[in-house]
């Protein structure tokens, strides 16, 4: 075998703490290595050309690239090998950047370590075999989880491109957080006026199947061929017949339910349509408040419903859908401010969250758009906004910036002045973060044109005084303590991951960070992809996002799905398990451990039971390889011999520089 080794300087990223020429020189001594060199940027065009030239000139059978993480550029170099006429799997990478140069300062020890990683790679490559991909069909339907603005955009883009879309929304209506907002920053557009038409498009689009009040129960399969189980929760209303007339809501005697859509600042009936623009506009019964379901007495709604669609016997229903790709756009939850005991821990009626304030200002909200104090219904004349409640505060486990709170606070302060011209607004802030287009101008307008008082400092305490509240905080610019007497305090609560996000991530087999936000495949270059093929992300499930970014990501995820669907056949990864039938004794332990059911029992011509791998189903984890008592089933590209060769190379390495 003829092996070439390419040691990358990565500019100074590697070369600063690793002696790359020395590593390349040493690598010449390794078995089967016939050519070594060190290059400035191996991934660049001249760098890749150098590999191609060397393969041709030195008749190389395999290539080792010592550079960055294979998670970064393995695909790049595999393509380069293919361009040179080699099989793409005759490549090994030694990660001497993330695992060596960036974590160690001692150049000598780094150099030794880098060389040893190269020798591991050479040892493995000596056992590599060319592998060839199979082709399989793609189901050209996409599942969109979450009906917020990001999900809506992704669904509409895919549907407009001609693909079938299945949208699953947990709540009774799509629209997400944006549907609850009154106006958007910095244009002060009416939120429901720009979102409403998109919601209607979703409901009327012939390519979109919408499951509201539903949750994803299970996702099985792989890119191109996912099987999804959706749990349609019982609404106790037959939605096929419900016209959304609202007659049931008027007559329902149980009116003390917490109104989730209005963030709990008002009550609603047990049978309810959350808001006038709801899509689908169908009623649903809250079983906890319903007298019929709880006590078996009432049934008023069933009596007056003109289409007779009330069904107290309804049960949850599981539907199965086949899709080829998944877009998760599950959004975020508002931070629960009750952990801040010093802010009244949610006990003071006139200390409310920003989203509750949004509902107070909204014309379709419980007060008809008139700002009234929840305690006594009076119009507040002095409103204090407290920023960074659950953002940038390691003390409550939320060290990250939620990003949009600075902007919505400025917007709410401006709107307060519009609603109540003789009011004063104060904003306690830490920094103003307004990096978007027109954003900084907007926060300045709040201060300069609308006279909103900005005080830089955290609020230490809020306490009641008579029917008003004292907000005590510091003004770090003036270097003093300040106290502001307020009629209403609005806490700009930050964003946190949706409650069931980790559970959903586990169903989709994608990673999530310690806060529960989903992880993208690469934070810079693959912002809407995951490490699981065929699963894409959009919007605030990745971390706090404003509306333009969420919409952009919705479209981006849709574009990725369309790229996937542009091919009729997908290439399977040939790094799958393969059975050596002469060794296999048909014990089927492999099939019992395989999490994907990718191994089936077959009978050979002599009538012996043997295991067989279904290549398109095998995901290449290698659990079976370890399980097999005969060593008969081997994961290609990660065979026992290859890994043991690596172990040997490492444990027996003799380094002499």
């Amino acid at each position: 075998m003829r092996i070439g080794v390419f040691v990358c300087h990565c500019g100074s990223n590697i070369a600063a703490t690793v002696d790359c020429p020395a590593v390349a020189e040493q690598a010449k001594k390794l078995q089967d290595v016939v050519f070594t060199t060190d290059t400035m940027y191996t991934c660049s065009e001249p760098g890749q050309n150098e590999i191609i030239e060397a393969i041709k000139e030195h008749k190389l059978d395999g290539v080792v690239v010592a550079s960055c993480s294979p998670r970064m550029h393995e695909a790049t170099f595999r393509r380069a090998l293919e361009r040179a006429g080699l099989n793409r799997y005759m490549l090994e990478m030694a990660n001497i950047r993330e695992h060596v140069s960036w974590i160690g300062k001692n150049k000598e020890r780094n150099t030794v370590k880098a060389f040893e990683l190269v020798s591991i790679a050479v040892a493995k490559l000596r056992n590599d075999q060319p592998l060839y991909a199979n082709k399989f069909d793609v189901t050209k339907r996409v599942l969109v989880i979450g009906g917020g603005v990001a999900g809506i955009q992704a669904a509409l883009d895919c549907a407009d491109a001609g693909y079938q879309v299945v949208m699953v929304e947990r709540e009774q209506s799509i629209g997400g957080k944006m549907a609850k907002i009154d106006k958007t920053f910095p244009t002060v557009d009416c939120s429901s006026c720009i979102l409403g038409p998109k919601m209607v498009d979703v409901s009327q689009h012939e390519n979109i199947t919408l499951y509201a009040m539903s949750e994803v129960e299970k996702i099985e399969g792989y890119v191109g061929n996912f099987d999804v189980q959706v749990r349609k929760k019982a609404t106790y209303v037959n939605w096929d017949n419900c016209t959304g007339c609202g007659a049931c809501m008027e007559k329902c005697p149980s009116k003390k339910n917490v109104d989730k859509f209005n963030e709990g600042i008002s009550t609603c009936t047990s049978i309810n349509i959350p808001f006038p623009q709801a899509i689908p506009k169908k009623a649903a019964i809250n079983p906890e408040g319903c007298l019929m379901l709880q006590k078996g007495k009432c049934g008023v709604c069933a009596k007056i419903c003109p289409t007779k669609c009330i069904d107290f016997e309804q049960k949850d229903e599981i539907v199965t859908e086949k899709v080829g790709a998944v877009i998760a756009a599950t959004g975020y939850d508002m931070f629960d401010h009750s952990v801040y005991k010093q802010y009244g821990a949610g006990q003071y009626p006139d200390v409310i969250t920003s989203l509750q304030y949004e509902r107070l200002m909204n014309a379709s909200g419980p007060t008809g758009g008139h700002i009234k104090r929840p305690s006594d219904g009076k119009e507040p004349k002095k409103v204090v906004f407290v920023q960074c409640v659950g953002s940038r505060d390691p003390a409550v486990g939320r060290p990250y910036c939620s990003g949009f709170c600075c902007m919505y606070t400025a917007k709410q302060a401006i709107l307060t002045k519009d609603h109540i011209p003789d009011s004063d607004s104060y904003v306690f802030y830490m920094d103003i973060r307004s990096p978007g287009k027109g954003y900084d101008e907007f926060t300045r307008r709040a201060q300069e044109q609308y006279g909103v008082q900005y005080l830089r400092g955290r609020v230490s305490m809020i306490y009641p005084k008579g029917d008003r509240y004292i907000v005590r905080g510091s003004d770090t610019l003036a270097g003093t303590q300040v106290e502001v007497e307020a009629d209403l305090v609005v806490l700009a609560v930050g964003a946190e991951s949706a409650k069931n996000a980790p559970a959903l991530a586990e169903k989709m087999r994608i990673s999530y960070d310690s806060y529960g936000f989903f992880m993208e495949a690469h934070p810079k270059l693959k912002p809407v992809e995951t490490n699981t093929a065929g699963v894409y992300l959009a919007g605030s499930c990745l971390g706090p996002r404003d509306i333009p970014t969420s919409v952009g990501q919705g479209s981006a995820a849709a574009a990725k799905v369309m790229t996937l669907f542009s091919k009729d056949k997908l290439e399977s990864d040939p790094q799958v398990s393969r059975v050596n039938t002469s060794r296999c004794v048909g014990c089927m332990k492999c099939a019992a451990t395989c999490p994907f059911g990718a191994i089936k029992e077959v009978t050979d011509r002599a009538g012996n039971v043997k295991a067989e791998v279904i290549e398109t189903v095998c995901q290449g984890c290698g659990i079976c390889t370890v399980t097999c008592p005969q060593g008969a089933i081997q994961l290609q590209h990660f065979t026992d011999n290859q890994i043991l060769a690596e172990v040997n190379a490492l444990c027996q390495a003799q380094v002499d520089f």
């Binding site: 993480s69 294979p70 998670r71 970064m72 990660n95 950047r97 993330e98 695992h99 060596v100 960036w102 974590i103 160690g104 300062k105 001692n106 000598e108 020890r109 780094n110 150099t111 030794v112 370590k113 040893e116 990683l117 591991i120 980790p502 586990e506 087999r509 990673s511 999530y512 960070d513 310690s514 992880m519 490490n531 699981t532 790094q575 451990t593 999490p595 994907f596 995901q619 290449g620 984890c621 290698g622 659990i623 390889t625 370890v626 399980t627 994961l635 990660f638 026992d640 890994i643 043991l644 690596e646 172990v647 490492l650 444990c651 027996q652 390495a653 003799q654 380094v655 002499d656 520089f657």
Partner: protein, 174 residues
């Protein structure tokens, strides 16, 4: 068999083999690198698709052929890219721990843990504390003497294995 380089200060670098799953822990190690979290240089990483791919025999082999420590890391339980590979891994490693003490290898030289792709800081802590543990234990005793295998003997065995059927010892038996 630890590095005989003249460049290494005596007693500094020990030989620690790391087996990392591609999806979570290898990503976590990358994240630590990108964030420039400084770590000891003793550890060398072998990438595998899943912690479920790690045969306990790989670990035994590493420890028997001169590794001073073996560190294994996979995805957190319930967060496996392959659904349940890390559960198989956990069961196998618990068995291995029992087995290691029987063979005379200090089980302290083996450690397995879970690190997700976002946990660069955690990876730094894991590497640092495990390296410190191995340094405290010192270089692993050579697998000779007590077992009756010295280096000469091992070489003979290796030669016999690699020469296969052509070897006189095989012929004699035949």
């Amino acid at each position: 068999m630890s590095g005989s380089s003249g460049l290494l200060a005596e007693g500094q670098d020990l030989r620690i083999v790391g087996f990392l799953c591609n999806w979570c822990s290898y990503g976590g190690a990358d994240t630590a690198g990108v964030a420039r979290f400084e770590q000891p240089t003793d550890l060398r990483v072998i990438r595998v698709p899943c912690s479920g791919r790690i045969d306990p025999l790989f670990i035994a082999r590493a420890l028997m052929s001169g590794a001073d420590g073996v560190l294994v890391s996979g995805c957190h339980p319930r967060d496996c890219h392959y659904a349940e590979g890390n559960f198989y891994a956990r069961r196998r490693f618990e068995m291995l721990k029992q087995f290691l003490s029987v063979t005379g290898i200090d089980p302290e030289r083996f450690h397995y843990t879970w690190v997700s792709a976002s946990e660069g800081q955690r990876w730094q802590d894991v590497v640092t504390s495990f390296t410190e543990r191995i340094h405290k234990l010192g270089p692993a005793p050579k697998m000779s003497g007590g077992t009756g295998y010295d280096e000469e003997c091992l070489k003979e065995i290796a030669a016999a294995v690699s020469c296969g059927e052509q070897c006189p010892c095989h012929k004699e038996k035949a």
